[in-house]
């Protein structure tokens, strides 16, 4: 049985087309459609319901030492008020999940994992926790909105004290009042654009969403669904759990090397990752040069030999190019390499390109 987010009724009112995702009923798109929603985020602003994301609090005297062991990134040089991304690895070096971590205090960290992995992560943390630490699943206590696009600051500033907004990328402020609603606001997102993510109490999020949509009307703000969230992250070259990451894919294979600190003290999966270096497959971007669209799960060939498989793909609305990400043999992963993708029985030509497909100017 899928859960409804507190915005379910508002999505219906706004013309949202509802689909199940990660255990929740969420809009895949609204009346405007995926392409217009995608373009709104690139050129103006879009508003997403991301209340399905999990929220896990880790606190206590041993919070940091547990975090250091659970996650591959380093949190010893991490200040209060900042946000940091990290994979979680299993003993074999595969990715359990990826998440962002908010540092509330020296002994208190707020983690935001993927909706579909939240229960798995929570169980994993509890199973591997040591010392004096408390781990709480707060997912039902928070709703979350993502306001993304070049006009995001202009729009949110109409509803809050602009001088209090977080300025640095991957920083946050707590207890900021937006449209009368107490929020945690971070400069984060999953679209490749400037933007904010706002966490608030579930019973206040519908009012907040309406106020934001109203405030942003002139700037071209529209509500956006999961469809655009996926095409935006793909265009921005960001991996998605279940596609470019899984229990069997290591962070090195997924191209997440900069979030794995092999020189820090022991963490779960470190030994396996040491043994699995260098990786035998690596995440790459590809643009199709033949007409057609490659999606997830298509085999990739080079010189007649199978060299990997696509993990995500579609026609990217802003670059207007059929593009895909794939896990490929590192020997053919260099930009410019010509490959062929089997798309339902047809071999389509494609070229390896550097990621991301799109970078904000």
């Amino acid at each position: 049985m899928e859960k409804k987010t507190p915005l379910y009724d508002l999505h219906l009112e706004l013309g949202g087309k509802i689909v199940p995702f990660g255990g929740y009923l969420l809009p895949v798109q609204y009346e405007t459609g995926v392409i217009k929603e995608h373009m709104a985020v690139r050129t103006a602003c879009g508003l997403f319901d991301v209340s399905h994301m999990g929220e896990i609090l880790i606190k206590g005297p041993d919070a940091l030492s547990n975090l250091q062991r659970f996650l591959t990134n380093d949190f010893t040089n991490f200040e209060v008020g900042r946000v940091r991304y990290s994979p979680i690895c299993n003993e074999e070096g595969g990715i359990v999940d990826d998440l962002i971590v908010y540092k509330f205090a020296e002994d208190e960290y707020f983690l935001v994992p993927n909706a579909a992995n939240k229960d798995k992560d929570f169980a994993w943390f509890q199973q591997h926790a040591t010392g004096d630490v408390e781990i709480l699943d707060l997912s039902d206590k928070y709703a979350q909105l993502a306001l993304q696009g070049p006009k995001a600051k202009e729009i949110i500033s109409k509803l809050t004290d602009e001088s209090l907004l977080p300025t640095k990328y991957y920083s946050f402020v707590r207890d900021l009042t937006v449209a009368g609603v107490p929020c945690l606001v971070s400069r984060t997102g999953y679209t490749g654009e400037l933007g904010y993510e706002l966490y608030c109490a579930p019973d206040q999020v519908a009012g907040l969403m309406k106020a934001l949509l109203e405030a942003g009307r002139e700037e071209g703000l529209i509500p956006c669904g999961l469809g655009a969230r996926d095409t935006l992250r793909l265009e921005a070259g960001m991996p998605l759990y279940g596609h470019e990451m899984s229990d069997d894919i290591t962070p090195f294979e997924a191209g997440l090397d900069m979030f794995v600190k092999m020189d820090k003290d022991d963490f779960i999966g470190k030994q396996a990752l040491k043994e699995k270096t260098p990786p035998t497959r690596i995440r790459v971007g590809m643009v199709l040069t033949d007409r057609g669209i490659a999606r997830e799960g298509s085999l990739v060939y080079h010189g007649g030999k199978e060299v990997g498989i696509t993990t995500s793909g579609t026609l990217l609305p802003y670059t207007n190019k059929a593009s895909a990400m794939a896990l490929l043999d590192p020997n053919v992963s260099e930009a410019g390499t010509e490959v062929e993708i089997d798309v339902r029985g047809r071999r389509l030509k494609a070229q390896i390109v550097p990621l991301p497909f799109y970078k904000r100017s």
Binding site: G33, T231, R291, G292, L315
Partner: protein
């Protein structure tokens, strides 16, 4: 929902305009709405044969690919190649943006009329 009375339909959401032993085929307004923004179409060739319940083309939206199923038997004599560069024409005008024209048409027995098709999509 836009369901013109002069057309016939099938349960896989194609429309067909029969004129003598030729026919024009496209996808319905309901279908384009369900699929969302179309970004690519794979078209067959002139002289290809089509057969009842068999796929002869496919359309791709941002999210997925969907087969287009022939409601009838026949031989394609014209293909709407303008759709290759502008598949969104189907979103804009599903009944204007025909996909193929077919001659030597047979197998018309099981087509739905507009009212039957309206009932079908109502039942969902």
């Amino acid at each position: 929902m836009n369901i013109p009375k002069n057309l016939k339909y099938c349960a896989t959401h194609e429309w067909i305009l029969v004129e003598g032993d030729t026919a024009t085929i496209g996808i319905t307004d309901f279908a384009q709405k369900e699929l969302g923004d179309l970004v690519f179409i794979n078209l067959p060739n002139v002289d290809d044969e089509v057969a009842v319940d068999e796929a002869f083309a496919d359309v791709e939206s941002v999210k997925a690919v969907s087969d287009i199923i022939s409601p009838i038997n026949g031989v394609i004599y014209e293909v709407n190649e303008a759709l290759l560069d502008a598949p969104e024409m189907i979103n804009e005008d599903a009944y204007g943006a025909w996909i193929v024209k077919v001659k030597d048409v047979t197998g018309l027995e099981n087509l739905l009329d507009a009212d039957q098709y309206a009932d079908l999509i109502k039942e969902g």
